[in-house]
Symmetry: C3
Subunit: 307 residues, 3 copies
Amino acid sequence: MNERLTHFTEVSHCSPQQLQELLDLAHKISQDIRAFENTRTGRMLVNLFYEASTRTRVSFEAAAKRLGMHVINISATGSSVEKGETLTDTFYTIQAMGPDCIVVRHPEEGNAAKLAELAEPGVHVINAGDGTAAHPSQALLDALTLKQSFQDFGEIRLVMAGDIRHSRVARSAIRLLQMLGVGEIRLAGPPEFMPGDGTTRGTRVFNDLDSAVEGANAIMMLRIQRERISGLDIPDADEYHREWGLNAERLGLASQGCHVLHPGPMNRGVEIASGVADGSQSLIRRQVRNGLYSRMALLLTLTRAQA
Amino acid sequence: MNERLTHFTEVSHCSPQQLQELLDLAHKISQDIRAFENTRTGRMLVNLFYEASTRTRVSFEAAAKRLGMHVINISATGSSVEKGETLTDTFYTIQAMGPDCIVVRHPEEGNAAKLAELAEPGVHVINAGDGTAAHPSQALLDALTLKQSFQDFGEIRLVMAGDIRHSRVARSAIRLLQMLGVGEIRLAGPPEFMPGDGTTRGTRVFNDLDSAVEGANAIMMLRIQRERISGLDIPDADEYHREWGLNAERLGLASQGCHVLHPGPMNRGVEIASGVADGSQSLIRRQVRNGLYSRMALLLTLTRAQA
Amino acid sequence: MNERLTHFTEVSHCSPQQLQELLDLAHKISQDIRAFENTRTGRMLVNLFYEASTRTRVSFEAAAKRLGMHVINISATGSSVEKGETLTDTFYTIQAMGPDCIVVRHPEEGNAAKLAELAEPGVHVINAGDGTAAHPSQALLDALTLKQSFQDFGEIRLVMAGDIRHSRVARSAIRLLQMLGVGEIRLAGPPEFMPGDGTTRGTRVFNDLDSAVEGANAIMMLRIQRERISGLDIPDADEYHREWGLNAERLGLASQGCHVLHPGPMNRGVEIASGVADGSQSLIRRQVRNGLYSRMALLLTLTRAQA
C-alpha cells in the first residue's frame, strides 16, 4: 500500500514508489496526451511566484490548462507583498479562495515546505524552487528524460557540471536520481562552485571537466549566472567556456552517443557551445516537453480523488 | 417589484432589497458552492486595474472562473494607459471586445461610476475601489461576515478604527451597514485620520480606542499605510500600536466573544497584534472566503438573463 | 485550389484569395459571433510580447477565449528574456509546450517570420507587430472595417496621414489594401515622417493634409508619438494639430460622409480632434470590435483541421 502524495516540496519527502509512479504516469502522458486532457475540469491552480520565471510558470500553467484547470497567476511585483503582508498571510488569503493546487516559487529556502504545513485538506502545495535548495518538478522532468533514454537508471553515468553550489536544480536532481538508483553521479566545476553542504554525498567530485566527462553517458550542464563568473579565478565568460563549457571536442571524450541535458535558460557560448545545444545528442528541447508531461502527472496525482 | 441591478459602483445606488438579495445569494453560495459553478460558462470578465491589488483582483478572478467565465486581466502598467490614451478611450476599447463585466479599480474617485454611464446594454461595471471613496464589494463581504455571526444587524455594535479618512473600505462599509440597519457604528482613530466629510454621519466618533471598544461586539481594524504615520503626532509604528492597535488586552474591554475583522493586507504589530489576528475571535480568513462568495453572487446577479 | 494558411506574419505572404476568405469569415463572425464560440475548445494560444500592448494582446486573448482556447500570456518583463536567453531558445521552449498558435510582438523587424520558419507542424505563428515593418492583423481589421462601408474596394479613396515612416500599421494596411484592389491611397505627413523605402509605391504623396483630404471618402489618422514631434520643424503638439491633425473643418473638405479611422490608442488634440474621434463619421470603435472578429477568423483559419 502506497501512501498518498499530498504536497510536492522536496523529492526526499516522497517514497521511491511514489516517484516511480509519477514517472510512469508522466511517460504514459507523453505517449498519448489527449487521453489525459480535461480530466480535472473546473479545478484551480494558483501560481504564486516571488521570483520571475517564464519557463516554470508557463509549464505549470500549460499543464494545468491541458487538464482543464483554471489558472491564476500571482507575481510578487504589484502584489500585496509589497504592502508588507507576510508570506503566511498571503498564503492564507490565496487558500481562502479555494484552489486545489498552489505552486510556490520563493527566493528563500524552506518556504514552500513551511506553507505546505499550513495547507488545509484538499489544498496541495508544490515547490517550484526555493532559494538554492530544491526544484523538485525540474528533477522529475530530468529523470523522465533519462528514463526514456536508458533501459535502467543503474546504467547511467551522469556528469553535472557548473555552478553546483547555487543550483537548486542540481540538488533536487542528485537526490531524486540517487533514490531511483542512478549508476553514478559526477560533479564538476570551479572550486568556488562546489557546495560545502551534503550535496556531494554519494557523488564523485572532479576539478576538471575533461576527466569528469570521460566515459560518461549523460551530461547535464547547469546554467551559470554571468555575474557569478566575476567571483571566480577566471577572467571572463570566454575563458569560462574554454575551461568549463561543454563543446564538441569535450563531448567527444564521453561515451559514444552520450546525452546532453540543460535545464535552461541557456547561456550559449558560456556553459554550453551552440553546436552541442543544437546537436543530435542534445535532449534539451525534449526536457521542456517532458516538463509539461511531468507536471501534468504531478497535478493528476495530487488531485486524484480519495480511494 | 425590485429594480434590476445593472452596475455595482456604490452601495447607495442599490436598494436595501437588492443588497439583501445579494447577501442572501452569497450566503447560499457559501453553503454549497458547487451548485453554482459553471453557471455562466463562456461569459467574460475584464479586470481593469489602475492600482496594484492582489487580493481584490484574484478574488474577482477566482469568482468569475468558478462560474465558468473567461477572465482577462489588464494592469495599467505596460498598457496603453502609459501611451496617453484617456480612461474613456481605454474603456471603449475594452467594451468593444464584448465583455459581460468590467471590474475597475482606479486611484481617482468617481471613475467607475463615470464609466458605468458609458456602458452599452449588457456590459456591467463593478467598482473595485475608486480613490478613497468606495469599495462596495468589500463592504458586501464585510456585511456577509457579520450577517453570519449575528441574528440581526440591529444587534451589532461595530467599532471601525484607524485611518478612516483615507479608507474607501470604511466609507462603503458604513453606508452599507447603515442601509442594513446596523445597531451602532463607532469610529475611532487619531484626529488626522478622522474624515472631514459626511462619512461620520450617524456614527459615534471616539478619540481613544479603549472607550470605543468598550461593550462593542464587532471590531473592524483598518489597514494603516506606514508612511502615513509620519504625518501624525505619533513618533513611530510601535507607539501607534500602543495607542491605536488592537491587542488582546484592549480586545478584553469589548463584549465577550467580540468578533474581529480586517480587510487585509494586515500590518501585524501596527494596527493589529498577531495574537488577535490569529485568535479565536478573528473572522479575518473567513472574510477572504466570503469575498469569493460575495463576488460570485454579484456576478450572478448582474449577468442574470432578462425576465 | 487555395493553398493552406500556416502562419500569418506578413500580408504579402498571403494570396488575395486567402485574404478575401479571411475577410469573408470575419464578416460572418461579425453577424453572428455566438455561432463560432467554443469551436476550438481546448486549443492553446500563447501571446509572446516583447513590447507592451494592451489592445493587441487583449484582442487576441478575447478572440481565442471566445473560441474556447486556453491563453497563456508572456511579457518580456520578468521573463527568461532578461536572463540572456535567445529569442530562438525562448520560442523553442514555448513550442515544446504544445501550443496551437504563438502570437509574437517584437521590436525588431522580421522576427516573427524568422520564428515561423522554426515552427513545428501544427504550430502557427502570428505577427502582432515587428518593429516598424508589419502588423498584419491590424491591417485585416482595417480592411474589414472598410469592406463593411463600401460596396467595393475600388471605390475607396483613402488618406493615411501622420507618421507613416514609423508605422507598421500603415505599411501593412497599404500592402493589404493594394492587394484587395483599393481605388486610391494618399499619404500625407511632415517630410520627416515620409518613408524612404518602397512603402509609398502605388500611392500619392501629399505634403499638406488639406490637399490630401479633398475628395477622399476614408481617412486613417495614424498615432503620433509625442516625443517624435520634437524631431520635426514644428514647435509643439498644438501646432502639429493645426497643421497635421484631423479636425472638423478639415474633414469638411473630404467627400460627404467620409469615414474616419484610427488604429488607437489616440492622442486626442494631436493627430485627431475629439469631436472628429467621437463624431458620426468615426468608425474607430467599430475597428476595435472588428479586431476581435478578424482575429477570431484568423485563428479559426490557421487551426482548421487538415482536409
